[in-house]
Subunit: 139 residues, 2 copies
DNA sequence: CTATGTGCAAATCTTTTGCAGGCTA
DNA sequence: TAGCCTGCAAAAGATTTGCACATAG
Protein backbone atom coordinates (compact mmCIF):
# COMPACT_ATOMS: atom_id res chain seq x y z
CA UNK A 1 0.00 0.00 0.00
CA UNK A 2 1.46 3.36 -1.02
CA UNK A 3 1.58 6.25 1.45
CA UNK A 4 -1.10 8.07 -0.57
CA UNK A 5 -3.36 5.04 -0.48
CA UNK A 6 -2.84 4.69 3.24
CA UNK A 7 -3.73 8.28 3.83
CA UNK A 8 -6.83 8.09 1.64
CA UNK A 9 -7.94 4.95 3.43
CA UNK A 10 -7.39 6.47 6.85
CA UNK A 11 -9.29 9.62 6.10
CA UNK A 12 -12.08 7.63 4.46
CA UNK A 13 -12.51 5.55 7.59
CA UNK A 14 -12.10 8.65 9.71
CA UNK A 15 -15.05 10.35 7.99
CA UNK A 16 -17.26 7.64 9.38
CA UNK A 17 -15.63 7.23 12.79
CA UNK A 18 -14.61 3.71 12.03
CA UNK A 19 -11.47 2.48 13.74
CA UNK A 20 -8.58 1.98 11.33
CA UNK A 21 -7.90 -1.66 12.05
CA UNK A 22 -5.50 -3.68 9.96
CA UNK A 23 -8.35 -5.44 8.16
CA UNK A 24 -10.32 -2.30 7.43
CA UNK A 25 -7.27 -0.53 6.11
CA UNK A 26 -6.46 -3.46 3.86
CA UNK A 27 -9.99 -3.44 2.43
CA UNK A 28 -10.24 0.35 2.24
CA UNK A 29 -6.99 0.65 0.33
CA UNK A 30 -8.35 -1.72 -2.29
CA UNK A 31 -11.58 0.24 -2.46
CA UNK A 32 -10.47 3.86 -2.37
CA UNK A 33 -6.67 3.69 -2.31
CA UNK A 34 -6.34 5.18 -5.76
CA UNK A 35 -9.27 7.56 -5.62
CA UNK A 36 -11.26 5.59 -8.20
CA UNK A 37 -14.75 4.21 -7.76
CA UNK A 38 -15.07 0.48 -7.30
CA UNK A 39 -17.83 -2.08 -7.65
CA UNK A 40 -17.12 -5.24 -5.74
CA UNK A 41 -18.71 -8.39 -4.44
CA UNK A 42 -17.74 -9.75 -1.05
CA UNK A 43 -16.16 -12.78 -2.63
CA UNK A 44 -14.26 -10.70 -5.17
CA UNK A 45 -12.92 -8.31 -2.56
CA UNK A 46 -11.91 -11.23 -0.38
CA UNK A 47 -9.95 -12.75 -3.25
CA UNK A 48 -8.34 -9.39 -3.95
CA UNK A 49 -7.21 -8.88 -0.40
CA UNK A 50 -5.77 -12.37 -0.20
CA UNK A 51 -3.90 -11.56 -3.38
CA UNK A 52 -2.05 -8.73 -1.67
CA UNK A 53 -0.86 -11.08 1.03
CA UNK A 54 -3.06 -9.68 3.80
CA UNK A 55 -5.27 -12.17 5.55
CA UNK A 56 -8.89 -11.17 6.26
CA UNK A 57 -11.67 -13.67 6.82
CA UNK A 58 -14.62 -13.76 4.47
CA UNK A 59 -16.99 -13.12 7.38
CA UNK A 60 -15.07 -9.96 8.18
CA UNK A 61 -15.27 -8.85 4.56
CA UNK A 62 -19.04 -9.21 4.71
CA UNK A 63 -19.31 -7.49 8.07
CA UNK A 64 -16.99 -4.71 6.97
CA UNK A 65 -18.79 -4.03 3.70
CA UNK A 66 -22.04 -3.88 5.65
CA UNK A 67 -20.43 -1.47 8.14
CA UNK A 68 -19.16 0.73 5.29
CA UNK A 69 -22.67 0.87 3.86
CA UNK A 70 -24.25 1.72 7.20
CA UNK A 71 -21.67 4.44 7.65
CA UNK A 72 -22.62 5.89 4.28
CA UNK A 73 -19.22 5.20 2.73
CA UNK A 74 -20.63 2.77 0.17
CA UNK A 75 -23.96 1.61 -1.17
CA UNK A 76 -25.31 -1.77 -2.07
CA UNK A 77 -26.43 -2.24 -5.66
CA UNK A 78 -28.88 -4.97 -6.57
CA UNK A 79 -28.32 -6.31 -10.06
CA UNK A 80 -28.24 -10.03 -9.75
CA UNK A 81 -30.42 -11.98 -7.40
CA UNK A 82 -27.64 -14.27 -6.35
CA UNK A 83 -24.94 -11.81 -5.28
CA UNK A 84 -24.64 -8.38 -3.70
CA UNK A 85 -22.51 -5.68 -5.25
CA UNK A 86 -21.08 -2.80 -3.25
CA UNK A 87 -20.27 0.55 -4.83
CA UNK A 88 -17.88 3.17 -3.46
CA UNK A 89 -19.84 5.86 -5.25
CA UNK A 90 -22.79 6.77 -3.08
CA UNK A 91 -24.93 9.08 -5.17
CA UNK A 92 -27.84 7.87 -7.30
CA UNK A 93 -26.48 6.93 -10.73
CA UNK A 94 -27.10 4.39 -13.48
CA UNK A 95 -25.01 1.24 -13.94
CA UNK A 96 -23.90 -0.96 -16.77
CA UNK A 97 -24.04 -4.65 -15.96
CA UNK A 98 -22.13 -7.04 -18.21
CA UNK A 99 -24.16 -10.22 -18.31
CA UNK A 100 -21.20 -11.96 -19.89
CA UNK A 101 -18.91 -11.86 -16.85
CA UNK A 102 -21.09 -10.38 -14.12
CA UNK A 103 -19.11 -7.17 -13.85
CA UNK A 104 -20.65 -3.86 -12.92
CA UNK A 105 -19.54 -0.35 -13.86
CA UNK A 106 -20.82 3.19 -13.71
CA UNK A 107 -22.66 4.40 -16.76
CA UNK A 108 -21.76 7.96 -17.73
CA UNK A 109 -24.65 9.70 -16.06
CA UNK A 110 -24.21 13.03 -17.77
CA UNK A 111 -25.75 11.50 -20.84
CA UNK A 112 -28.53 9.83 -18.96
CA UNK A 113 -31.82 11.53 -18.33
CA UNK A 114 -35.20 10.47 -17.13
CA UNK A 115 -37.75 12.78 -18.64
CA UNK A 116 -40.71 11.95 -16.47
CA UNK A 117 -41.31 9.62 -13.56
CA UNK A 118 -44.66 7.93 -13.07
CA UNK A 119 -46.97 9.36 -10.40
CA UNK A 120 -46.17 7.86 -7.06
CA UNK A 121 -49.03 6.24 -5.13
CA UNK A 122 -50.53 8.34 -2.31
CA UNK A 123 -48.73 8.09 0.96
CA UNK A 124 -45.42 7.15 -0.62
CA UNK A 125 -42.33 9.01 -1.68
CA UNK A 126 -39.41 7.98 -3.86
CA UNK A 127 -36.52 6.63 -1.84
CA UNK A 128 -34.28 5.87 -4.80
CA UNK A 129 -34.43 5.09 -8.50
CA UNK A 130 -32.28 2.19 -9.57
CA UNK A 131 -31.33 1.98 -13.21
CA UNK A 132 -29.38 -1.01 -14.47
CA UNK A 133 -28.54 -1.19 -18.15
CA UNK A 134 -27.81 -4.83 -18.92
CA UNK A 135 -25.28 -5.29 -21.69
CA UNK A 136 -24.68 -8.28 -23.87
CA UNK A 137 -21.57 -8.84 -25.96
CA UNK A 138 -22.27 -8.46 -29.66
CA UNK A 139 -21.72 -11.85 -31.28
CA UNK B 1 -60.80 -22.42 -10.72
CA UNK B 2 -63.43 -20.96 -13.05
CA UNK B 3 -63.85 -22.31 -16.59
CA UNK B 4 -62.47 -19.03 -17.94
CA UNK B 5 -59.41 -19.27 -15.72
CA UNK B 6 -58.88 -22.87 -16.78
CA UNK B 7 -59.04 -21.95 -20.41
CA UNK B 8 -56.66 -19.02 -20.00
CA UNK B 9 -54.23 -21.21 -18.11
CA UNK B 10 -54.38 -23.95 -20.71
CA UNK B 11 -53.80 -21.65 -23.62
CA UNK B 12 -51.01 -19.88 -21.76
CA UNK B 13 -49.20 -23.17 -21.23
CA UNK B 14 -50.04 -24.21 -24.74
CA UNK B 15 -48.28 -21.15 -26.21
CA UNK B 16 -45.07 -22.49 -24.77
CA UNK B 17 -45.60 -26.19 -25.41
CA UNK B 18 -45.63 -26.97 -21.73
CA UNK B 19 -47.68 -29.96 -20.68
CA UNK B 20 -50.77 -28.95 -18.71
CA UNK B 21 -50.11 -30.97 -15.59
CA UNK B 22 -52.21 -30.56 -12.48
CA UNK B 23 -49.48 -28.54 -10.73
CA UNK B 24 -48.79 -26.26 -13.67
CA UNK B 25 -52.48 -25.56 -14.13
CA UNK B 26 -52.87 -24.75 -10.46
CA UNK B 27 -49.97 -22.28 -10.61
CA UNK B 28 -50.96 -20.85 -13.98
CA UNK B 29 -54.51 -20.16 -12.85
CA UNK B 30 -53.15 -18.10 -9.96
CA UNK B 31 -50.82 -16.26 -12.29
CA UNK B 32 -52.96 -15.57 -15.35
CA UNK B 33 -56.40 -16.94 -14.44
CA UNK B 34 -58.00 -13.51 -14.34
CA UNK B 35 -56.01 -11.90 -17.13
CA UNK B 36 -54.19 -9.56 -14.75
CA UNK B 37 -50.44 -9.19 -14.38
CA UNK B 38 -48.87 -10.66 -11.29
CA UNK B 39 -45.61 -10.22 -9.41
CA UNK B 40 -44.82 -13.17 -7.20
CA UNK B 41 -42.07 -14.78 -5.21
CA UNK B 42 -41.73 -18.55 -5.14
CA UNK B 43 -42.61 -18.63 -1.47
CA UNK B 44 -45.63 -16.37 -1.96
CA UNK B 45 -46.97 -18.39 -4.86
CA UNK B 46 -46.48 -21.58 -2.90
CA UNK B 47 -48.49 -20.17 0.00
CA UNK B 48 -51.17 -19.05 -2.42
CA UNK B 49 -51.53 -22.42 -4.08
CA UNK B 50 -51.73 -24.19 -0.72
CA UNK B 51 -54.46 -21.73 0.19
CA UNK B 52 -56.62 -23.01 -2.69
CA UNK B 53 -56.35 -26.55 -1.40
CA UNK B 54 -54.09 -27.81 -4.19
CA UNK B 55 -50.86 -29.41 -3.09
CA UNK B 56 -47.67 -28.48 -4.96
CA UNK B 57 -44.19 -28.81 -3.49
CA UNK B 58 -42.03 -25.75 -3.07
CA UNK B 59 -39.34 -27.32 -5.26
CA UNK B 60 -41.87 -27.71 -8.03
CA UNK B 61 -42.92 -24.08 -7.66
CA UNK B 62 -39.31 -23.05 -8.15
CA UNK B 63 -38.79 -25.41 -11.06
CA UNK B 64 -42.03 -24.34 -12.66
CA UNK B 65 -41.38 -20.61 -12.35
CA UNK B 66 -37.98 -21.20 -13.90
CA UNK B 67 -39.61 -23.20 -16.71
CA UNK B 68 -42.15 -20.42 -17.31
CA UNK B 69 -39.30 -17.91 -17.59
CA UNK B 70 -37.32 -20.06 -19.98
CA UNK B 71 -40.42 -20.48 -22.08
CA UNK B 72 -40.83 -16.71 -22.23
CA UNK B 73 -44.11 -16.72 -20.32
CA UNK B 74 -42.68 -14.72 -17.42
CA UNK B 75 -39.59 -12.75 -16.54
CA UNK B 76 -37.51 -12.57 -13.42
CA UNK B 77 -37.18 -9.15 -11.82
CA UNK B 78 -34.27 -8.37 -9.52
CA UNK B 79 -35.15 -5.88 -6.83
CA UNK B 80 -33.98 -7.37 -3.61
CA UNK B 81 -30.82 -9.34 -3.24
CA UNK B 82 -32.40 -11.95 -1.05
CA UNK B 83 -35.43 -13.00 -3.11
CA UNK B 84 -36.42 -13.44 -6.71
CA UNK B 85 -39.59 -11.93 -8.10
CA UNK B 86 -41.35 -13.27 -11.15
CA UNK B 87 -43.51 -11.09 -13.37
CA UNK B 88 -46.20 -12.28 -15.77
CA UNK B 89 -45.69 -9.18 -17.87
CA UNK B 90 -42.75 -9.83 -20.15
CA UNK B 91 -42.04 -6.51 -21.83
CA UNK B 92 -39.50 -4.01 -20.53
CA UNK B 93 -41.24 -1.71 -18.02
CA UNK B 94 -40.51 0.14 -14.79
CA UNK B 95 -41.50 -1.15 -11.35
CA UNK B 96 -42.45 0.31 -8.03
CA UNK B 97 -40.94 -1.53 -5.10
CA UNK B 98 -42.41 -0.90 -1.65
CA UNK B 99 -39.55 -1.16 0.78
CA UNK B 100 -42.05 -1.29 3.59
CA UNK B 101 -43.53 -4.69 2.78
CA UNK B 102 -41.40 -5.94 -0.09
CA UNK B 103 -44.20 -5.83 -2.63
CA UNK B 104 -43.63 -5.12 -6.28
CA UNK B 105 -45.99 -3.54 -8.80
CA UNK B 106 -45.93 -2.14 -12.31
CA UNK B 107 -45.32 1.59 -12.54
CA UNK B 108 -47.53 3.29 -15.12
CA UNK B 109 -45.08 3.31 -17.97
CA UNK B 110 -46.95 5.75 -20.15
CA UNK B 111 -45.72 8.53 -17.92
CA UNK B 112 -42.20 7.22 -17.82
CA UNK B 113 -39.60 8.27 -20.30
CA UNK B 114 -35.88 7.99 -20.58
CA UNK B 115 -34.63 10.91 -22.57
CA UNK B 116 -31.17 9.68 -23.34
CA UNK B 117 -29.22 6.55 -22.60
CA UNK B 118 -25.48 6.66 -22.04
CA UNK B 119 -23.24 5.50 -24.85
CA UNK B 120 -22.73 1.79 -24.68
CA UNK B 121 -19.14 0.49 -24.66
CA UNK B 122 -17.84 -0.87 -27.95
CA UNK B 123 -18.68 -4.47 -28.64
CA UNK B 124 -21.76 -4.42 -26.44
CA UNK B 125 -25.44 -3.88 -27.00
CA UNK B 126 -28.26 -3.22 -24.56
CA UNK B 127 -30.04 -6.39 -23.52
CA UNK B 128 -32.48 -4.75 -21.15
CA UNK B 129 -32.92 -1.64 -19.05
CA UNK B 130 -34.17 -2.32 -15.55
CA UNK B 131 -35.77 0.54 -13.68
CA UNK B 132 -36.87 0.06 -10.10
CA UNK B 133 -38.42 3.01 -8.28
CA UNK B 134 -38.07 2.31 -4.57
CA UNK B 135 -40.86 3.78 -2.51
CA UNK B 136 -40.93 4.59 1.15
CA UNK B 137 -44.07 5.25 3.16
CA UNK B 138 -44.35 8.89 4.16
CA UNK B 139 -44.11 9.10 7.93
C1' DC C 1 -44.76 -46.93 -23.89
C1' DT C 2 -41.42 -43.08 -23.41
C1' DA C 3 -40.22 -38.74 -22.37
C1' DT C 4 -41.42 -35.28 -19.13
C1' DG C 5 -42.79 -33.80 -14.65
C1' DT C 6 -42.99 -34.11 -9.66
C1' DG C 7 -41.80 -34.71 -4.73
C1' DC C 8 -38.76 -35.25 -1.20
C1' DA C 9 -34.67 -34.66 1.06
C1' DA C 10 -30.19 -33.45 0.73
C1' DA C 11 -26.88 -30.37 -1.29
C1' DT C 12 -25.33 -25.67 -2.56
C1' DC C 13 -24.43 -20.97 -2.22
C1' DT C 14 -24.43 -16.59 -0.20
C1' DT C 15 -24.75 -14.12 3.89
C1' DT C 16 -25.35 -13.68 8.99
C1' DT C 17 -24.50 -14.73 13.77
C1' DG C 18 -22.65 -16.48 18.43
C1' DC C 19 -18.92 -16.47 21.00
C1' DA C 20 -14.10 -16.38 22.66
C1' DG C 21 -10.12 -13.84 22.16
C1' DG C 22 -7.57 -9.51 20.26
C1' DC C 23 -6.74 -4.71 19.65
C1' DT C 24 -7.70 0.56 19.41
C1' DA C 25 -8.30 4.74 21.82
C1' DT D 1 -9.20 -0.85 30.80
C1' DA D 2 -13.59 -0.82 28.06
C1' DG D 3 -15.63 -1.33 24.08
C1' DC D 4 -15.23 -2.29 19.51
C1' DC D 5 -13.34 -5.85 16.05
C1' DT D 6 -12.13 -10.18 14.25
C1' DG D 7 -12.10 -15.08 13.18
C1' DC D 8 -14.01 -19.33 13.15
C1' DA D 9 -17.49 -22.41 12.74
C1' DA D 10 -22.14 -23.04 12.78
C1' DA D 11 -26.68 -21.25 11.44
C1' DA D 12 -29.86 -19.43 8.35
C1' DG D 13 -32.42 -18.58 4.15
C1' DA D 14 -33.15 -19.07 -0.73
C1' DT D 15 -32.70 -21.98 -4.49
C1' DT D 16 -31.13 -26.21 -6.96
C1' DT D 17 -30.45 -31.04 -7.66
C1' DG D 18 -30.44 -36.38 -7.54
C1' DC D 19 -33.25 -39.89 -7.84
C1' DA D 20 -37.36 -42.85 -7.70
C1' DC D 21 -42.09 -42.59 -8.88
C1' DA D 22 -46.03 -40.68 -11.55
C1' DT D 23 -48.29 -39.13 -15.72
C1' DA D 24 -49.26 -36.80 -20.39
C1' DG D 25 -49.32 -37.68 -25.20
Amino acid sequence: MTPAALERSQSWLGQADLRPTRQRLALASLLVGDGQNRHVTAEGLHDAVLGTGDRVSLATVYNTLRAFCEAGLMQEVTVDGSRSYFDTRVDDHPHFYMEEDGSLMDAPSAEFHIQALPDVPDGYEIAKVDVVIRLRKIA
